[in-house]
């Protein structure tokens, strides 16, 4: 799960990583103006108006602006709310007292898939696109893989100091940056984050090293050991569609896509393959949905209901290869779901293969449900689902 900036800063703060004084999270221009006034009354006439989305490049997109007055804060808010930053629409703004910036650096720790460990990236070039720095001036970017012992025991301070020194941070920043880096790694471990990025890490004009930005990604598999994990999923930061919300609530693996052929299958690889064969048949998938292994009739029904609740869906492909799952039970599950759902006005193309496939197909053929079309192979099922979707779209 990706956190937005203010959440990342909250996470940093509770783990001892220095951050600016907390700003105010706002959802309307009125709130932004009031926040700027409140901050000005506290002695900080300058505020930063910052879009809160789960995407980088906010500054470049015009999503981060300095305001010298509450009126200016309001004007900025009016241009930033609703801004589309690479597909992410801004619904929430953070109003923060402006920090006096002397210098900007870059610091991140991420889980490196290739190295199967943790990587610290540090550069004196902060506040800019680190990919660009890496391209044009790779010597300016220190990339340090952590050792296995550090994975378990934490990053020793001497190592942290060595990293920030090699990144050429100035003497005035070194000690604090080293301390911060140690705490940042501890935070990453404690919170099960796979990424903690600070760009920029700043030296303030009064000599403090703090995280001016915070980009954090949390490992979904670790939710079981974080009771507050769900609390990060705040309503309204990014408006999600009804299906994505329902899938999350039901713990169903679902990804919304752009097309009109609804897809359900058992197994992530098989479902990815289903998206591919639908495209190869000339159609476009409306979604990815994995019902998982050994799914019950209820899960099948719930998943079908979810996909069919999407008005964009013109036809559905149900692609099941029964391993442990028995196809005759799947067939019964599909028919049972159709009973529950009533008239769905769309065709379901059902491909059953594997354990008891013959029996499953026979059950569907004999039931002869007007909306259920059995298909013998994945390729045929995809062709048929695409054709049915096109027919409905044209009608």
């Amino acid at each position: 799960m990706d956190l937005v900036e203010y959440q990342g800063k909250q996470l940093f703060g509770r783990n001892g990583v220095p951050v600016p004084p907390p700003g105010v999270v706002c959802r309307t221009p009125d709130e932004v103006e009031a926040a700027a006034r409140q901050i000005a009354d506290g002695g900080n006439p300058l505020t930063v108006i910052k879009a809160q989305v789960k995407m980088g490049g906010r500054g470049k997109a015009g999503g981060v602006k300095l305001a010298k007055s509450p009126a200016e804060a309001r004007a900025h808010a009016e241009s930033i709310f609703g801004l589309d930053i690479k597909g992410h629409i801004v619904h929430v703004i953070l109003v923060e007292p402006a920090s006096g910036i002397d210098q900007e650096y870059y610091l991140s720790i991420l889980h490196d898939r290739v190295g199967k460990g943790y990587l610290v990236i540090c550069s004196r070039e902060g506040g800019v696109d680190i990919e660009e720095v890496n391209r044009t001036n790779p010597a300016a970017v220190v990339k340090e893989p952590l050792l296995p012992s550090e994975t378990v025991d934490g990053l020793p301070r001497e190592r942290a100091l060595d990293i920030v020194t090699r990144a050429n941070l100035p003497a005035a920043a070194l000690d604090q940056a080293a301390d911060l880096l140690v705490k940042l790694f501890a935070a990453l471990k404690a919170e099960d984050a796979t990424l903690a990025e600070i760009n920029p890490l700043i030296l303030t004009d009064d000599g403090r090293v703090i995280a001016l930005d915070a980009k954090v990604s949390l490992d979904g598999n670790a939710a079981f050991r974080h009771g507050d994990y769900d609390e990060w999923d705040v309503e309204g930061i990014e408006v999600v569609d009804e299906q994505t919300r329902a899938a999350k609530a039901a713990d169903i693996a679902y990804v919304r896509l752009d097309g009109d052929v609804g897809i359900l299958g058992n197994g992530a690889g098989l479902v990815m393959a289903s998206l591919d064969v639908v495209a190869q048949a000339g159609g476009t998938a409306a979604n990815f949905l994995d019902i998982g292994g050994g799914a019950s009739a209820e899960t099948m029904a719930e998943s079908l209901r979810l996909v069919l609740s999407d008005d964009r869906v013109n036809a559905v492909l149900v692609n099941v290869f029964g391993g442990i799952t028995q196809c005759d039970l799947v067939a019964q599950g599909v028919l049972g779901a159709m009973e529950q759902l009533g008239d769905i006005d769309r065709k379901l193309v059902v491909r059953l293969d594997g354990t008891n496939a013959e029996a499953g197909r026979r059950i569907l053929t004999e039931a002869n449900h007007p909306n259920v079309i059995p298909a013998a192979t994945m390729a045929e099922a995809a062709e048929r689902a695409v054709a049915e979707a096109a027919a409905r779209a044209a009608a």
């Binding site: 598999n221 197994g267 690889g269 098989l270």
Partner: protein, 295 residues
């Protein structure tokens, strides 16, 4: 001969709940030698319906019964400890089926168990492995397999079954099928399995099934093109239609938007193609390519 598991495999099952019991019994019925189950509080009892002992620890199963392989079926919060316990008890091959293990846990496991070498960890989030006619450790349905000469290695579960099924229908059997799992940090990579297949006299062709995310397919491809250019190898990648930045079910099936590149299906296909390895874009094509290479 097959790889990793064969008629000498002696399995201890960690996790004797409903899932563990169901799959262990299937493995046993197939002929796999399940020697024991483990449960910290049920040591000394009999594990029905398998009729083998329950030991309180893996170490006991190793010492008393010569267990050399472990199947880990405990829930995700306990998987790291279960793998480490098996490792410390001297298990040679650890097959971790469980899905949902945190990345930090697996990173620690990787450092402890895999980097040191000498022990084969497969998974987690995998269906296990089967050497048809010899041994089945995991949840792969044996009845869709048939013994033969193709080595199959895959990140997927049911998609692998699909391909095995299509190959079996064409009369093509498997020496060993290894499910390496769908997570970003796994104990055994494509390359590990492919090297073992290359050294196995009973394996005469290799099929690998990859997904979006990571770059292990290309790493394997590099080794294949340099070391076994004459062995028939066919690849297949799922996820051409996956949008960047979205996790497609498997924790490892994600193309990072600001990532190093090479993680999308199209890029993998292109890179592997340039190495001389054909990559199918759907399961039927994968089976057809293999049938053609073998004929």
């Amino acid at each position: 001969m097959a790889i990793f598991i064969d008629e000498n495999t002696r399995v201890v099952v960690q996790g004797i709940g409903a899932q563990g019991t169901f799959h262990a019994k299937r493995n046993q019925d197939y002929g796999t030698n399940i020697v024991a189950g483990t449960h910290p509080k049920k040591g000394g009892t009999i594990w029905e319906p398998l009729g083998v002992k329950v030991h309180a620890s893996v170490r006991e199963a190793v010492e008393e019964l010569g267990a050399n392989t472990s199947m880990v079926m405990v829930p995700a919060p306990f998987t790291k400890d279960a793998i480490l316990e098996a490792y410390e008890a001297g298990i040679q091959t650890i097959v971790a089926i469980t899905e949902g293990v945190p990345v930090h846990d697996m990173t620690e496991v990787y450092d402890t168990v895999v980097r040191r070498g000498g022990v084969r960890l497969i998974g987690p989030n995998c269906p296990g492995l089967i050497s048809p006619g010899k041994s089945n450790v995991g949840i792969i349905p044996a009845d869709i397999t048939k013994p033969g000469k193709v080595g199959l290695v895959s990140r997927s579960g049911t998609l692998t079954y699909q391909i095995m099924h299509e190959l079996a229908q064409a009369g093509i059997g498997i020496s060993t099928c290894v499910g390496i799992g769908g997570d970003p940090v796994i104990g055994t990579q494509f390359l590990d399995v492919i090297k073992a297949f290359a050294a196995d006299p009973e394996t005469e062709a290799i099929a690998f099934v990859g997904e979006i995310g990571g770059s292990e397919e290309q790493l394997a491809g590099q080794w294949i093109s340099e070391n076994i250019p004459d062995l028939p190898v066919v690849g297949y990648i799922a996820g051409f239609e996956a949008p960047p930045g979205k996790q497609m079910g498997h924790a490892g099936a994600i193309v990072k938007e600001d990532g190093p590149g090479g993680e999308s299906a199209a890029e993998k296909k292109e890179i592997l193609g340039a190495m001389g390895i054909p990559v199918a874009i759907n399961p039927s094509e994968a089976a057809q390519l293999m049938i053609k290479r073998l004929s």
